[in-house]
Amino acid sequence: MHLLAIDWSLLTEKLVLIVVVVLISLVVAMYSTYAERKVAAIIQDRRGPNRAGPFGILQPLADGLKLFFKEEIVPKFSSKFLFILGPGIAMLTAIMIGAVIPWGNKVHLFGRDISLQITDVNIGILYVFGIVSLGVYGIMIGGWASNNKYSLLGSMRAASQIISYELAMGISLIALLMITGTLSMKTMVGQQMDHVWNIFKQPLGFLIFLVCAFAETNRTPFDLSEAENELIGGYHSEYSSMKLGFYLFAEYVNMFLSSAIMVTLFFGGYDIPFVNDATFIHTIGTNWMAVFQGAVFFIKIVLFLFLFMWVRWTIPRFRYDQLMNLGWKVLLPLALFNMLATGSLVLLHQNHWHF
């Protein structure tokens, strides 16, 4: 008798996939810190980290070790549980986004077709939104539990920034959803493989989404929540050791996964450009195809990561009122205009271009 009627093979398959996705996110985030320092060095005409290993390739490991060995400090009057919960939530919400991203089509292993997406829920992109809106809690709880005015101010800034930009982000996506007619990210990639990439249909939507993604990940020019010359360290002023590491690391994981989302939504996901996938898959087989798709997807993500870093070392930080003006008075009306324009074009198209 089965006490637990569970499909064990499915469970193992998903579990392995989850572990792999989490590991990839973490490793990429780890090496993003290295890449960030190298990019900064190149832009500022320096050498960057070059002591740990050849070309400083072991630098992230050294940084991680340093963070682990540092003293763990919990402020005396802070709520200890919430103080520890904060970075945990930040990391958790960052990693959870990876669940709906299609990393490739499928592989054929052990006589099974394994989809390279943890779950293809039919609300895919809304799930991302739900998780992103929860990301605020990690920062808010951490900032509040620090029992420090600078931390509280930093977390308030971060929270209001994330809430404000979420709005424009959502509306810019509505236009995309009207064109694709689906919320599932896998279906969106499928459509882009057959037709043109969504960036050509929604350039304005992509621009708004990109700016909002910068704001959501708290990256420069939107890193007011940790503006060190006004707020010491922002919401993580009181944090030390690996708890601080979690906050810093969550930012890089967020960067990686938001790049992945932008690639999936606007740049064809794992679609190999200039190649007819249907014929190519016959020549090399399903598994090699998955490898190529994964590699192409990864290259696109790395390009986006580079864009994130490039912007960070080029553009100075906004003032707080400029940030709010940009969000509410520029991006939101633009997103609304984009939505209306797309809606009317879709209607016209359905009506065969007759008014």
């Binding site: 637990l4 919430l82 739900g130 929860l134 977390s155």
Partner: protein, 170 residues
């Protein structure tokens, strides 16, 4: 027990326990956090009923937006500095009696309802976004539009109330 049942019981117990947590916590921040857990477990129940859209909208709107505002207000008011004034014993007794009355009414109403024994229909597609959209924009267009106008007016009202008074020159 099937997986669905295990999940159902887990989520139900979690929801009830965290609801108790909301009431029992002394610190308002903990209350808000427990309330978020309640929303999550209820969203989980929606997913079990295959109403994914409802589940995720519950998370986005309640856990993601409304609760963030709650936390904002509580954190800025800094309620911890003002210890809670112990309430009157009679007031507590009245609260318990009123709560129990509500519970009795709810249980009585649900026990008599006709679809009490109708088992949970697994695999229906009613809750999926496609069917939801169709129903909303075919059968219920007018109520939908009216409620959106209501929201808009509420929003404008909030802006008007929240706006700074202009300095009137005497």
């Amino acid at each position: 027990m099937s997986t669905t049942q295990i999940l159902f019981w887990f989520l139900s117990i979690l929801a009830v326990l965290s609801a108790v947590g909301v009431v029992a916590s002394r610190n308002p921040i903990y209350s808000v956090l427990w309330l978020i857990v309640v929303f999550f477990s209820i969203s989980g129940q929606y997913v079990l009923m295959n109403a994914q859209f409802l589940a995720i909208v519950n998370v986005i709107v309640y856990a993601g937006a409304i609760m963030v505002l709650f936390t904002f207000v509580i954190m800025l008011m800094n309620l911890n500095e003002h210890p809670e004034i112990p309430k009157n014993v009679y007031l507590k007794a009245a609260g318990i009696i009123a709560g129990m009355c509500l519970l009795v009414v709810l249980v009585a109403a649900l026990a008599k309802s006709s679809n009490m024994h109708e088992s949970l229909r697994v695999g229906t597609n009613v809750g999926l976004i496609k069917y939801l959209g169709r129903t909303l924009f075919n059968d219920y267009v007018v109520p939908f539009e009216i409620s959106s106008v209501l929201f808009l007016s509420a929003m404008i009202g909030a802006v008007v109330i929240g706006r700074k008074e202009k300095e009137t020159v005497a």
